[in-house]
């Protein structure tokens, strides 16, 4: 075994008390909440703040999904900032009701409304009293001050709010399984659905962005795209036989935790099923939750994955990778990269406090040739400073690492969100044996492409 590379490189100088952020590797909380609300049937996300927040986030999300993303705003002006945003919030919800006819409005706050002290639950309570004679949609609110946490906090917060605010009664046992999938792609959600169907269980996946953020070409502009987790199903999540939440870096309180505490729905917290062993865990958990053994289809998929890993092992063995992005995605990638012999020399995330270091140690333990250096709360400037000396062969993460990859003449394997400089980010599959295989093919081919490009003569056989 080679000596761990990460131990031989000089560590960067101690950081001063405050370091400004350059090229952040995170997004703000309301963006995550907007994405999660978008995965509920008939729902429209609503940002309580100034107009710019909604527009910027729409633009950012559209560039990845290439779908219309309508996010309403209370469009606060200066007077509202002084006297409170309540009237605009109410008016905004009424206007959205008129124009979009939603069955749910997902209200997320912003730094502005958190700081001026708008009491959103109270404003919404007043709203329901004032307009009780109208056919009101459900309104779920989440507190997402953008000066606290990252987009993943917004995502998980919105999911928890949906569960806690909609699931108020204990539903009759319905034999379903709740899956809280974390921030994965539309294709990932579709795959999770397939897997559950093959296990013969109806899964309530919350949120389900598979159709709402990757819809078909249609005759007309639909105000709210079809798909998403049905509201009735969310209300019945309390009657499920179990919950499975995917993520090793989740907040202490989540939708799954709430359902267990309030209704005794057993909560399984496992990592994102990325790579062989984390996918095994997911399927084992499904076996346990459903009592159904793993269908043969997945035995075959697993077998194919292992076969491919054997066929391709030499091309990737010992390659040095820098991995970055959301904590759980990074942990999942580290799990898989360890299995195929790629050395993760740096695993970075803009979030902090969720134990990415612990999660990475857990998922790579016993397999990884080196312990990846884990950096939490970092930006691209920090990561670049380290990567200069770590000399990676590969970058694996979202599009925003592109300029660095280009600067170092190192290929970038694009995964996660956002993918702004390539096509089809929403259709990338990462989860399960199939997702691992797809990722493996991409990584191997990326390495081969680089080798061909760097070769003086080129070669036609591997």
């Amino acid at each position: 075994m080679t000596k761990p590379a990460s131990k031989t490189v000089p560590r960067p100088a101690a950081r001063p008390n405050y370091v400004s952020t350059t090229n952040a590797c995170k997004l703000c909380t309301p963006l995550g909440a907007s994405l999660a609300f978008r995965g509920v049937e008939g729902a429209i996300p609503f940002l309580h703040g100034s107009q710019g927040c909604a527009t910027y986030m729409r633009r950012y999300i559209i560039s990845h999904f290439r779908e219309p993303v309508d996010i309403a705003s209370s469009a606060l002006g200066e007077k509202n900032a002084i006297y409170g945003g309540g009237p605009n919030l109410k008016k905004g919800v009424l206007n959205v009701m008129k124009k979009y006819e939603p069955t749910l409005v997902g209200v997320a706050t912003t730094c502005l409304t958190e700081t001026i002290g708008d009491d959103v639950p109270m404003i919404l309570h007043e709203f329901r009293k004032e307009f009780g004679d109208l056919d009101l949609p459900d309104i779920v609110h989440v507190s997402t001050p953008s000066y606290s946490g990252t987009h993943t906090d917004g995502w998980h917060g919105a999911v928890r709010s949906l569960v806690e605010q909609l699931c108020v009664d204990k539903a009759a046992p319905n034999g379903r399984v709740n899956i809280l999938p974390n921030m994965v792609s539309c294709e990932d959600i579709r795959h999770l659905k397939d897997i559950c169907r093959d296990f013969g269980v109806h899964a309530t996946i919350l949120p389900d962005i598979s159709e709402t953020l990757d819809g078909p070409a249609l005759e007309d502009y639909v105000k709210i795209p079809s798909g998403g987790t049905p509201l009735a199903e969310i209300r019945e999540m309390s009657g499920a036989r179990a919950s499975i939440e995917l993520g090793r870096c989740l907040p202490a309180k989540t939708g799954g935790v709430s359902l267990e505490a309030a209704f005794g729905v057993r909560n399984h917290r496992i990592g994102l099923p990325m790579g062989l062993r984390e996918s095994d865990r997911f399927l084992e958990t499904l076996e346990e939750a459903t009592g159904t053994p793993m269908p043969r289809r997945y035995e075959l998929e697993r077998g194919r994955l292992v076969d491919a890993m054997v066929d391709g092992h030499k091309y990737v063995f010992g390659k040095r990778a820098v991995v970055y992005g959301e904590e759980d995605l990074v942990a999942g990638l580290c799990a898989f990269l360890a299995e195929i012999g790629v050395d993760v020399v740096l695993a970075g995330t803009g979030s902090q406090g969720r134990g990415l270091d612990r999660a990475v140690a857990e998922v790579t333990g016993g397999v990884a040739r080196i312990s990846p250096e884990v950096r939490q709360g970092v930006d691209f400037h920090d990561m670049a400073a380290e990567a200069e000396t770590l000399k990676p062969d590969l970058l694996i993460g979202h599009s925003k690492g592109y300029t660095y990859a280009r600067g170092w003449n190192v290929p970038l394997v694009r995964v996660g969100f956002p993918i702004h400089d390539r096509f089809g980010g929403q259709r990338r599959l990462h989860l399960g044996y199939k997702g691992a295989l797809e990722l493996f093919d991409r990584i191997v081919n990326t390495v081969l492409e680089k080798k061909q490009a760097d070769s003086d003569i080129g070669y036609g056989y591997m």
Binding site: P16, Y18, V19, S20, T21, T22, N23, A24, K26, L27, C28, P30, L31, G49, S50, Q51, G52, C53, A54, T55, Y56, M57, R58, R59, Y60, I62, S63, R66, E67, P68, V69, D70, A72, S73, S74, A75, G77, L89, K91, G92, N95, V96, K98, K99, C111, L112, T115, S146, Y147, S148, T150, G215, A217, L218, E219, D220, Y221, V222, K223, K400
Partner: protein, 461 residues
């Protein structure tokens, strides 16, 4: 489908030829209307962003900086400091105790690291609420570091995008007049309101070079702090775009007596007119300039026109909807589309003024829908009503058009094609052609039914 326009938005929509235009504009976006518009911060950020040797520090929570990271395709011929995204990344404790110390530390650190020629500090919503005195911090850092450190009062909620343009112009006006103007030609201009998307300002600068006009400062595409500092030495300001830099031109007229003219580099007539306006202005100082300009325009057109004619064969008769940032751009686009035989039937903007819309109505065909501060449902309703073949807009408008099976052309700050100048007109025609003539429209549900009915290919209908 309920496509009704919200009552409060009715006076922001007008149909050309149906009575006197009295369109409401420049008001705050309506709550819950899903406006396509951003905020004051956005307005400042997009104007100042291309100044490539300045540090652009966003004082606020992380989102404001992230969503504007390298957002414009504004190219630089040298430094690229503008392409990095700097933020103070305000956290909860800063909101409680104030963010001034953090801002000062960030400026100290970043100025030492990058040695910029100046620094712009953008104020965001949260900073306006917690009341950080960014003016004082900027003054202190400016003294200690010896470079201009300029506050930009761009709190997101204090108006709409136009207010951001003004904040940007105010910040730039502090730089103007601080540099040495010696050696500047009497036949000289500043280019205002071009952001050098895909290198457009280089096309325009080349025309001025051929005319014998010195360009003192690019404001702000491929911009430099030192050029801004001495740009008051130019004889004339050329202002493109409806509002972004007009305020700066007015300030310079008042303070330095520099006249300005409004120009546009988009489309054939407007490009030629703009060059002739400049030639006319300088004809007394340089009698040969008119001839040189005529020759330039003739040369360029002789190359361009035959090419355009080929695209026109396919495109004639097609209908266009456009929704752009500033409405001034819409004038040029309407004329440009006429050259391609196409008809603009919807023209909207995020930040048009009353005068802009009045002028737009003058050049628009009767029945053209003119709209201020629209939203997805309105835009999709207009696309259907007018049965358009092509939509021109920005990133947020693209999926609306595509979902409806309508071709789309990017004409905002993220485009990667140079559309300015005579060369740009050709690029534009090529892109319009590729967007409108693709066979994919045969297969989208909206067109597929029609194709089946007519038994023809949709693109040839």
């Amino acid at each position: 489908m309920n496509t009704g326009i919200l009552e409060e938005r009715k006076d922001q929509i007008h149909r050309a030829g149906e009575g006197a235009i009295d369109i409401a504009c420049n008001r705050d976006s309506l709550a819950g209307a899903v406006s396509q518009r951003a905020c004051v911060f956005c307005g400042s950020r997009v104007v100042l962003y291309p100044i490539a040797d300045a540090l652009h520090l966003v004082h606020g929570p992380i989102g404001c900086a992230v969503y504007t990271w390298d957002i414009r395709g504004a190219l630089s011929s040298g430094p690229e400091l503008h392409r990095l995204s700097f933020s103070t990344d305000l956290q909860e404790k800063d909101v409680i105790f104030g963010g001034e110390k953090k801002l000062e530390a960030a400026l100290d650190e970043l100025i030492d690291r990058h040695a910029p020629k100046a620094a712009f500090v953008y104020s965001t919503c949260i900073v306006g609420i917690i009341g950080d005195d960014i003016e004082a911090v900027c003054r202190r850092v400016s003294e200690s570091k010896g470079i201009p450190v300029l506050p930009v009062q761009s709190e997101g909620f204090k108006g709409n995008k136009r207010a951001g343009y003004l904040a940007a112009c105010k910040a730039m006006s502090r730089l103007v007049g601080t540099g040495d103007t010696s050696g500047i030609s009497p036949v000289s201009v500043n280019i205002l309101g071009d952001f050098n998307l895909a290198g457009e300002i280089w096309i325009v600068r080349d025309y001025f070079r051929r005319m014998g006009v010195e360009v003192v400062a690019n404001i702000t595409g491929d911009g430099r702090v030192a050029d801004l500092a001495r740009c008051h030495g130019a004889a004339l300001n050329l202002v493109q775009c409806s509002g972004a830099t007009l305020d700066l031109a007015r300030m310079m007229e008042e303070q330095y007596g520099i006249p300005f003219v409004r120009v546009s580099y988009l489309g054939i007539e407007d490009m030629a007119d703009s060059l002739y306006q400049v030639a006319d202005f300088f004809r007394d100082k340089d009698p040969g300039i008119v001839g040189r300009t005529q020759e330039l325009v003739r040369d360029e057109l002789s190359m361009l026109m035959p090419e355009l004619a080929r695209y026109r064969l396919d495109l004639a008769g097609k209908r266009v909807a456009m929704y752009v940032g500033g409405s001034f751009k819409a004038f040029s686009l309407i004329k440009a589309f006429r050259h391609l035989g196409m008809k603009v039937v919807v023209a909207g903007s995020q930040t048009g003024t009353a005068e802009d819309y009045a002028e737009l109505e003058q050049i628009a065909d009767p029945g053209t829908i003119i709209v201020d501060d629209a939203n997805p449902l309105e835009l999709s309703a207009f696309i259907k009503e007018k049965d358009v073949d092509l939509f021109v807009g920005g990133v947020k408008e693209r999926p609306i058009a595509h979902k409806l099976g309508v071709g789309f052309c990017d004409h905002n700050h993220e485009r990667k094609e140079a559309l300015a100048g005579f060369a740009g007109m050709l690029n534009f025609a090529r892109e319009v052609h590729a967007s409108a003539m693709s066979p994919v429209w045969n297969f989208v549900p909206r067109r597929a039914a029609r194709v089946a009915e007519s038994g023809e290919e949709a693109v040839n209908d």
